[in-house]
Amino acid sequence: MHKFNIDFMGNRRIMFGISLTLIAISIAALAFRGLQFGVEFKGGTVINVANAKGVSQAEMANAVAAAGIKDASVQTAVVNGQTGFIIRTSVTDPATANGDAQKAAAELNKTTVRIPAGDFQVTTIGPGWGKSVTNAALIALAVSLLAILLYVSIRFEYKMSVTAILALVHDILITLGIYALIGYEVTPNTVAALLAVLGYSLYDTIVVFHRIKENSQGLVKQSFMSMANESINQVLVRSINTSLTSLIPVVVLLIFGGPTLKDYALALTIGLISGAYSSIGVAAPIYAMWKEREPKYAALAKKFAKA
C-alpha cells in the first residue's frame, strides 16, 4: 500500500506563494512580451515546406524574393523530422498565395529539383476571419466555463465550482504566460487544446472534491481542514498516476509530432501539469478555507485548533 501523509494544508501558504509568483510572471510576460498570434487570427498566408533537405535559409529566401513575393518572412523549421521552412506572407487571396508558393518552388527547382513539386502546405486566411475565429473561441471558452460551473454546482455545491473555476483561471494564465515567455505561436489549435485541458484538469479537482465530500459526512472527530488534507493524501497516488499516464502520451506527441500536432501537444502538456498542481495547490485549500468559515466547521476548527 502506498500511503502518504503530507501536510498540504499546513503548507498552503507556500503553494499559494508559488502560484502567485507564477501568475505574476505570467501577467508580466503577457503585458511586456505579449502573445504571438497565428495567421488564423490575423489573416495572411503560411506556407509550410517539407522535405527541403540541403536547402539553406538564404536559398529559400532568394527563391521567395525571385518569385516576387513581398514582405515574406522565411523561417527554417523541422517539419515532420525533415528540414523544412515556414514562409509567412500577408497575402489573403488563396489563389495568389498558391501561385506564389508554386513560383517560389519553381525558382528553387530551376537548375535541379530541390523540393518535390507540390510538396507543401499553403494556409490562407482571409481578412476579418480572425475576428470570427477569436469570437468563436471566446464564446466556446465562456460556454464551457459556465457549463462546468453549473454542472459542479448541481452535482456538488457552488463553493466547489467557484474554487474549481479559480484553479482553471490559474491554469489558463500560466499556460498563456509560458506561451508569451517562449514566444510560441497561439493558434486555434492552442485554444482548443487549452479548452480540453480545462475540462480535463477539472478531473483531478473533482476527484479531490468527491473525496472531501464523502469524508465530510458526519464530520466530528477533526477539523474540516485536516479532513481535507487527509482526503488529498488518500487520492494522491491516483492523482500522480493519472497525471503521469495522461502526460506521457502527450509529451511523446510533443517530441514526435509535426506542426499541427505540436500545437496541441504543447498546450496540453503545460495545461496538464498546471492542472494537476492546481487541484491540490489551489482548489482544495481555498475550498477548505472557505468551508471553515461556515459556523459548523468553524466550531470544529476551534475545537481542534493546535494550541
Binding site: 498558391n98 507543401f120 490562407t124 473533482i206 487520492v235 499541427t260
Partner: protein, 453 residues
C-alpha cells in the same frame, strides 16, 4: 438473471464488440477515412455576404451550396464534399491539389452574367470607354439595367472563333431567354447598336448586333485564356450564386506532407500507449495487466467506432483528431487507475475481495463518469461553437470519452468482479491483495471499515 450471469454476458458482449470492431477497422489505413490535411487536397471555408442590401436568407445559402456542389462536380475530382457550416459558411473539400488554382477561381466567381444595352447605360464615361473598345470596363452599380441575366443560359461550351482565332464561350438559352434575345436583336440590328455582356460587373464583350438572333445562341468573346474560358463556361452552366462568397480559410496540402504527419501521430500514440502500459503493469502488476487489456479493448472499440462512422461517410480523421485520440489514451488509463486505486483502498479498509471488487468498481466508475462528463461538456462546447479544423479534435475527444465509459461498464467492472471470486485469491500478492484478506468472510483484526457512499 443473477449478477454472475450478467457479468459473463457483459464480457461476452465485450468480446463480440471487440471482434466486430477489428472486422470493421482492419486495415485502419483503408477503413478509417483520412481528412484532407492528411491525404492532401484543397479545403476551403467560403463565407457568404449577401449582394446589395439584401438579407442573407437560408434559402440563398441552400441554393449557394447546391451551385457550389455543381461547380465542384464539374471540376472532375472524386470524393469531394460540400457542406454548409453555421449560418453563413460553406466548407468545400477536394482531394488532390492538381487543380487547386482552378478550383479556387471557379468557387469564388459569383458568376452573375448580365446583358445590357450600351445605349441605356447612364454613365457617359463608361459608354465612351465601351465604344472605344476598351477591355474589361467596370460598370458602376446603379448606372445600368440589364434586360436579361445569366439565368437564361442552359448550356455553355468553350470554342475557338474560326475567323479571329480567339477563344470564346458559346452559350445556349432557354425559351424565355431566346424570346427576349430575339426581340432585342431584332430591334437593335438595323442601327448596329452595341450590347454589353457583363460578368460580375465587368464588360467582357460588347458586340454590335449584326443580325437578329432567333435561335437563342450567343457568343461571349473577350480576351480569354483557355482556362478562363473553361472557368466561365463552368460558372455559366451552374448558374449565378445568390450571394457573393469569399474564401476565409483555405488550406492546400501536398500529398506526402500529410502522410508524414499521420505517421508521426500514429508513432507518438503507439509509443505513448506502450509507456503507459509498462507503467501500469509495473505499478499495479495484476490489476495493471487488466488495465492494459482494458486499454486494448478501449482502442479496439474506438477504432471500430471511427471505422463504422467512416463507412457511413460521417467521419474523416484529421490531425487535430489525432491529438484528440492521444488525449483520450490518458483518459482511458485514468479510469483504470481510479478502479485499481479504489479496489486496493477498499481492501485496505478491511473489505472482502468480493465486496471490494463490487463496491470499488461502482464508486470508481461513478467518479470517472463525473470527470468524463466535464471533459465531454468542454468538447461539446468546442464542437458546436468553434469553427474550422478544431472541430475534428472535439469530435474524437467526445467519441473517446464515450468508448472509455463503455469499456469500464462492459469490460473492467464485470471482469474484476468475476476474477475476485476465483482468480484473485489464488495469487493475492500479484493482484495487490494482502494475503490475509479472504474472498467472502470478514478478516480477523480488521473490522469492516466503512467507505461511505
Amino acid at each position: 438473471m443473477d449478477p454472475k450471469q450478467r457479468n459473463y454476458l457483459l464480457l461476452a458482449l465485450c468480446a463480440i464488440l471487440v471482434i466486430g470492431s477489428w472486422v470493421m477497422f482492419f486495415p485502419p489505413a483503408k477503413k478509417i477515412t483520412q481528412g484532407l490535411d492528411i491525404r492532401g487536397g484543397l479545403s476551403v471555408i467560403l463565407t457568404a455576404k449577401p449582394r446589395a442590401e439584401q438579407q442573407l436568407s437560408s434559402d440563398d445559402m441552400d441554393r449557394a451550396v447546391l451551385i457550389i456542389n455543381n461547380r465542384v462536380n464539374k471540376l472532375g475530382a472524386s470524393e469531394t464534399s460540400v457542406q454548409k457550416q453555421g449560418s453563413d459558411s460553406i466548407l468545400v473539400q477536394i482531394p488532390g491539389i492538381k487543380n487547386a488554382q482552378e478550383a479556387l477561381n471557379v468557387l469564388q466567381s459569383t458568376g452573375q452574367l448580365e446583358f445590357v444595352e450600351v445605349s441605356t447605360i447612364t454613365d457617359t464615361a463608361t459608354v465612351a470607354a465601351i465604344e472605344s473598345a476598351q477591355q474589361n470596363v467596370q460598370l458602376k452599380p446603379g448606372t445600368y439595367k440589364p434586360f436579361m441575366t445569366g439565368d437564361v443560359v442552359t448550356n455553355a461550351s468553350v470554342a475557338q472563333d474560326p475567323q479571329s482565332g480567339k477563344i470564346v464561350v458559346n452559350a445556349t438559352m432557354n425559351p424565355a431567354g431566346t424570346k427576349t434575345w430575339a426581340a432585342v436583336t431584332t430591334r437593335l440590328f438595323p442601327t448596329h447598336a452595341q450590347v454589353a455582356i457583363v460578368l460580375d460587373g465587368v464588360v467582357k464583350s460588347a458586340p454590335q448586333v449584326q443580325d437578329a438572333i432567333l435561335d437563342g445562341r450567343t457568343q461571349i468573346s473577350g480576351n480569354f485564356t483557355a482556362q478562363e474560358a473553361k472557368d466561365l463556361a463552368t460558372v455559366l452552366q451552374t448558374g449565378a450564386l445568390p450571394v457573393s462568397l469569399a474564401p476565409v480559410d483555405t488550406r492546400v496540402v501536398g500529398p506526402t506532407l500529410g502522410q508524414q504527419s499521420l505517421q508521426q501521430g500514429v508513432l507518438a500514440a503507439l509509443i505513448g500507449l506502450a509507456i503507459v502500459a509498462i507503467y501500469l503493469v509495473a505499478f499495479y502488476r495484476g490489476l495493471g495487466l487488466i488495465s492494459v487489456v482494458g486499454l486494448i479493448v478501449f482502442g479496439s472499440l474506438f477504432l471500430g467506432l471511427l471505422a463504422t462512422l467512416s463507412a457511413f461517410g460521417l467521419f474523416a480523421l484529421s490531425l487535430p483528431g489525432i491529438a484528440g485520440i492521444v488525449l483520450t489514451i490518458g483518459l482511458a488509463a485514468d479510469s483504470s487507475i481510479l478502479i485499481n486505486e479504489r479496489f486496493r483502498e477498499e481492501i485496505g479498509l478491511g473489505k472482502t475481495i468480493r465486496s471490494a471488487a463490487a463496491s470499488g468498481t461502482r464508486h470508481a466508475i461513478g467518479t470517472s463518469v463525473d470527470a468524463d462528463l466535464v471533459t465531454f461538456v468542454s468538447a461539446l462546447a468546442l464542437f458546436v461553437i468553434a469553427i474550422g479544423p478544431v472541430k475534428g479534435f472535439a469530435l474524437t475527444l467526445m467519441l473517446g470519452i464515450f468508448c472509455d465509459i463503455v469499456m469500464m461498464l462492459i469490460f473492467s467492472r464485470p471482469l474484476i468482479i468475476l476474477m475476485a471470486e476465483s482468480v484473485f485469491p489464488k495469487a493475492p500478492a500479484f493482484w495487490g491483495i494482502p494475503r490475509e484478506v479472504s474472498v467472502t468472510g470478514s478478516v480477523a483484526g480488521k473490522k469492516g471499515g466503512a467507505v461511505s457512499a
